[in-house]
C-alpha cells in the first residue's frame, strides 16, 4: 500500500469513528471533524486513483479493484453532498463502513501495468457516470434501511436508543429520493454516453448485451420508485421496501452480470 492509500484509509476510519461517536453523543465539533476527515480522505483518495491510473497506464477503473475504488470515492462524494444538503450526519456510521470496505478491497492486490488502452472521453464519462449511479443507489439503500428500522420502532411503540439520533423519517425519505434521483440521472446519462460510444465503435447503438438490458431495467425500476414514492398507495415504508428490492438488481448487475453474463462489460 502506498502512502496515499494508507493515509486515505486512516482518514476514512477516523471519519467513521467520529460519525459513530456523533451518533451517540451529538457534538458539533465531532460532527464537523467527521465531515472534514471524509472530505480530506476523498481528496487523498483522488490522488490514490490518479496514482493507480499512472501505474496502470490506463483509466483507474480498468480492473475490478480500480472500479471498486472509484465506487467508494463516488459513494463518499455523494454522501458528503447529501449531508451538506440535508444535514443528516446520523447516516454516516452506516455509509462509512461501506466506503472503508470498498476502498480496502480495492487495494487488496498490488496494481500491475496493463497494455495501454485509449478509449476517450465518452467512454470515461460512460463508466464514471454509471459508477456514480451505483454509489447513489447504494446510498438510497442505506437510507431506506434506516427508514424501515425507524418505522418499525415507531409502529411497535418502542422508540428508544438511537431512534432519537436518526434524522426524521420525512428527511430520510427525501434524502433517499434525492439519492435515487441522482442515480437515475447519472445512469440515464451514463447509458446514453455508452450507446453513443458503442455506435462509434461498432456502428450500432444496441447490441443486446445482458448488461444493457439489466441497466435499462434498473433505470426503469428506480424511475418507478421515484414516481411511486409520492403516490397514495406506495408512499412511506412500501416505497422504502421497493428501493431495497431495486438495489438487489443493482448488485446483480454489478457482480453476476459484469463477471459472467456480459460480453462487453467487465467491471462497470
Amino acid at each position: 500500500m502506498t502512502g496515499w492509500v494508507l493515509a486515505t484509509l486512516l482518514l476514512y476510519i477516523l471519519s467513521f469513528a467520529a460519525y459513530l461517536r456523533n451518533l451517540y453523543v451529538e457534538n458539533r465539533a465531532i460532527g464537523l471533524a467527521a465531515g472534514a476527515s471524509l472530505f480530506v480522505g476523498l481528496w487523498l483518495h483522488y490522488f490514490a486513483l490518479l496514482e493507480r491510473a499512472r501505474v496502470l497506464h490506463a483509466v483507474p477503473y480498468e480492473d475490478l479493484w480500480g472500479s471498486l475504488s472509484l465506487f467508494a470515492w463516488l459513494l463518499g462524494a455523494t454522501f458528503l453532498g447529501l449531508e451538506l444538503v440535508h444535514r443528516g450526519r446520523a447516516v454516516g456510521p452506516f455509509v462509512l463502513p461501506l466506503i472503508v470496505l470498498l476502498f480496502a478491497l480495492s487495494h487488496f492486490r498490488d496494481v500491475s501495468p496493463h497494455p495501454a488502452t485509449a478509449r476517450g472521453t465518452l467512454f470515461a464519462l460512460h463508466v464514471t457516470l454509471n459508477i456514480l449511479a451505483y454509489s447513489a443507489f447504494s446510498l438510497a439503500f442505506v437510507l431506506s434501511t434506516i427508514y424501515l428500522i425507524q418505522n418499525r420502532l415507531l409502529r411497535r411503540r418502542k422508540p428508544g436508543g438511537v431512534f432519537w439520533r436518526f434524522p426524521p423519517m420525512d428527511v430520510l425519505e427525501r434524502m433517499c429520493r434525492s439519492s435515487a434521483l441522482v442515480g437515475v440521472l447519472a445512469l440515464a446519462a451514463g447509458i446514453s454516453f455508452g450507446f453513443v460510444w458503442a455506435d462509434r465503435l461498432h456502428g450500432h447503438y444496441w447490441s443486446g448485451d445482458p448488461k444493457e438490458i439489466v441497466s435499462l431495467l434498473i433505470l426503469v425500476f428506480y424511475s418507478a420508485y421515484l414516481w411511486l414514492s409520492r403516490s397514495t398507495a406506495w408512499r412511506g415504508s412500501r416505497a422504502a421496501v421497493l428501493c431495497l428490492c431495486n438495489f438487489v438488481f443493482v448488485m446483480f448487475s454489478y457482480s453476476i452480470v459484469n463477471i459472467y453474463l456480459s460480453r462487453y462489460h467487465r467491471f462497470y
Partner: protein
C-alpha cells in the same frame, strides 16, 4: 479565600416554605448590598428559582463565623423565625460550594433531572449580580465555570436530550416523523392539561397551523383565542382530517371519537400522507385498530408514559458521566483557587521578609563600624538575594506547577508558619 453557600431547595423544603423565601430581583439586590455593607461578605450572588433560594458569597471573616450570621440575615430578610427554617437550610463551604453549583448548572440538583431551564436561570442570576457589581474574582470564576459545566454536560451527555414529559414526548415523536414542524399542522380535539402542554410545546417548536375542535362551540372559540388557533366545527372534524399531520385528542367520551373506518377514510382523502395520532383520552378516543392502518402512528397516554419512563432511566444512566465532567471542573477550579492563594501568600511573605530583613540589618549594622555606605548597601542586597533564593523561589515553583499546587492542601498552615496571619486581613 473561602466560599460559602446558604440556602434551601425542593429536596429540603416544601413549596409553602420555598415560596416564602423566594428572592424577588429587588430583594436579591438588597441582600447583596446589605451583606457587603455590613462586612459579612466580600462578594455575593443570589440564585432564586421556583425550586431553590440560595445565597453564595466570599466571606470577609472565616466561613465558620459567617454562616451563622448568614442564617440570621436570611431569616430576618424574609421575616421568618429562624426556627421555621431550621433543618430546611443547608450550607456548604469551599469545594462543597463549587461542586454544588456545578451540579445545579448541570441539572443534577433539579426536580426534573437534566432539565435545561436551570442553566438559563444560573446565567441570569450571575448576570444580575455581575451588573450590580456584587461579584468579584472568585464568584466570577466559579459561575463562569458553572455555565461551562452546564453547557458541556448538555452537549457531551444525554442528560437533557430525551423528553421526560408525556406532552414533550408526543411533540418529539412528531418531529421524528415529520422533521421541523414549521410546515405542518396539528388538530387538537377537546381540551385537557396535557393537551394544553402539547400546544405550548408545539408553539415553541414553531408549528405552522393549529386547529381546534370541541363539542362545545363556545369552548372551542375560547381555546382558539387562547392558542391562536382556527376553529373546526365538531361535526366537520372527519372532513377536516385530510389537513392536519397530527391529531391530539383528549375528549371525555364513553366511546371512541375516531373509529378505524373514520381514520381509513381520512387516509384516503389525504393520499396516505403520514398521520400521527396522540390519544390522551381515558377511555381511549381513537379505536386501537386505527393504529394498524398504513402510515398511521397511534400513541395513547400509556405508550407515551412508557417512553417517558425509559427516557428517565436513560437520563439517570448518564449521571456518572456528568459527575465525571463535574469532578474535572472542580479540580480545575481548585487548581486556580490555590494558584490565587499562593500568589497572595507570596506577596505577604515577601513583604514580611523585607520588613524582617530591614530590621535585622538596621540592628546588626549599627554595631559594625568601619563599613562604608556602599558596603552596607551591598550587604543589604546580598541578604535580599539570599532570602529570594532560599524562601521565595520555592514558592514561585508552586505558582507555576499545577500538580504541586494540588498537593498543597492548606495554605493557611503556611501563613501560620511564617506568622502572616496579621497581614491576611
Amino acid at each position: 479565600m473561602e466560599i460559602v453557600l446558604l440556602g434551601l431547595n425542593h429536596r429540603t423544603a416544601p413549596v409553602e416554605l420555598r415560596e416564602r423565601v423566594a428572592f424577588s430581583p429587588e430583594k436579591a439586590g438588597r441582600a447583596a448590598t446589605e451583606l457587603r455593607e455590613r462586612g459579612v461578605l466580600a462578594e455575593t450572588l443570589v440564585l432564586s428559582t421556583c425550586n431553590r433560594s440560595e445565597l453564595y458569597g466570599v466571606p470577609q471573616e472565616s466561613a465558620a463565623e459567617t454562616i451563622p450570621q448568614l442564617e440570621r440575615y436570611f431569616a430576618s430578610l424574609h421575616e421568618l423565625d429562624p426556627a421555621v427554617l431550621g433543618a430546611s437550610l443547608y450550607h456548604h463551604r469551599d469545594h462543597g460550594v463549587v461542586r454544588h453549583v456545578f451540579r445545579v448548572a448541570a441539572g443534577l440538583d433539579s426536580m426534573l433531572l437534566g432539565e435545561a431551564e436551570i442553566l438559563g436561570q444560573v446565567r441570569d442570576a450571575y448576570q444580575a449580580a455581575y451588573d450590580m457589581g456584587s461579584t468579584g474574582p472568585v464568584l466570577n470564576r466559579m459561575f463562569q465555570a458553572a455555565l461551562e459545566v452546564g453547557k458541556r454536560v448538555r452537549t457531551e451527555t444525554e442528560i437533557g436530550t430525551r423528553p421526560v414529559s408525556v406532552a414533550f414526548a408526543g411533540v418529539k415523536l412528531a418531529e421524528q416523523i415529520f422533521g421541523k414542524l414549521s410546515k405542518h399542522c396539528a388538530l387538537i380535539l377537546g381540551a385537557g392539561t396535557v393537551s394544553e402542554q402539547v400546544v405550548e410545546h408545539l408553539r415553541d417548536r414553531g408549528i405552522a397551523r393549529l386547529l381546534v375542535a370541541n363539542r362545545s362551540p363556545e369552548r372551542a372559540r375560547e381555546l382558539a383565542a387562547r392558542w391562536k388557533a382556527e376553529v373546526i366545527e365538531w361535526e366537520k372534524v372527519e372532513g377536516a382530517l385530510a389537513v392536519p399531520d397530527m391529531v391530539v385528542s383528549s375528549v371525555g367520551a364513553e366511546q371512541a371519537v375516531m373509529s378505524r373506518a373514520m381514520v381509513e377514510r381520512a387516509m384516503q382523502s389525504r393520499a396516505n400522507r403520514a398521520l400521527f395520532l396522540i390519544d390522551l383520552g381515558v377511555p381511549r378516543n381513537v379505536a386501537p385498530e386505527a393504529g394498524k392502518l398504513y402510515n398511521v402512528y397511534l400513541y395513547n397516554v400509556d405508550d407515551l408514559a412508557e417512553i417517558v419512563e425509559g427516557n428517565k432511566r436513560a437520563r439517570a444512566g448518564e449521571i456518572p458521566r456528568v459527575e465525571a465532567i463535574i469532578e474535572q471542573h472542580v479540580l480545575k477550579f481548585q487548581a486556580w483557587q490555590t494558584g490565587v492563594e499562593v500568589t497572595s501568600v507570596l506577596r505577604d511573605l515577601r513583604a514580611k521578609l523585607a520588613q524582617g530583613r530591614n530590621a535585622f540589618l538596621r540592628e546588626r549594622l549599627s554595631n559594625m563600624e568601619g563599613l562604608t555606605s556602599a558596603e552596607q548597601e551591598r550587604m543589604a542586597q546580598l541578604a535580599e538575594e539570599l532570602l529570594e533564593r532560599l524562601v521565595i523561589s520555592p514558592f514561585e515553583h508552586v505558582r507555576s506547577e499545577r500538580d504541586l499546587r494540588k498537593r498543597i492542601a492548606d495554605l493557611d498552615a503556611v501563613r501560620r508558619m511564617f506568622g502572616l496571619d496579621q497581614e491576611k486581613h
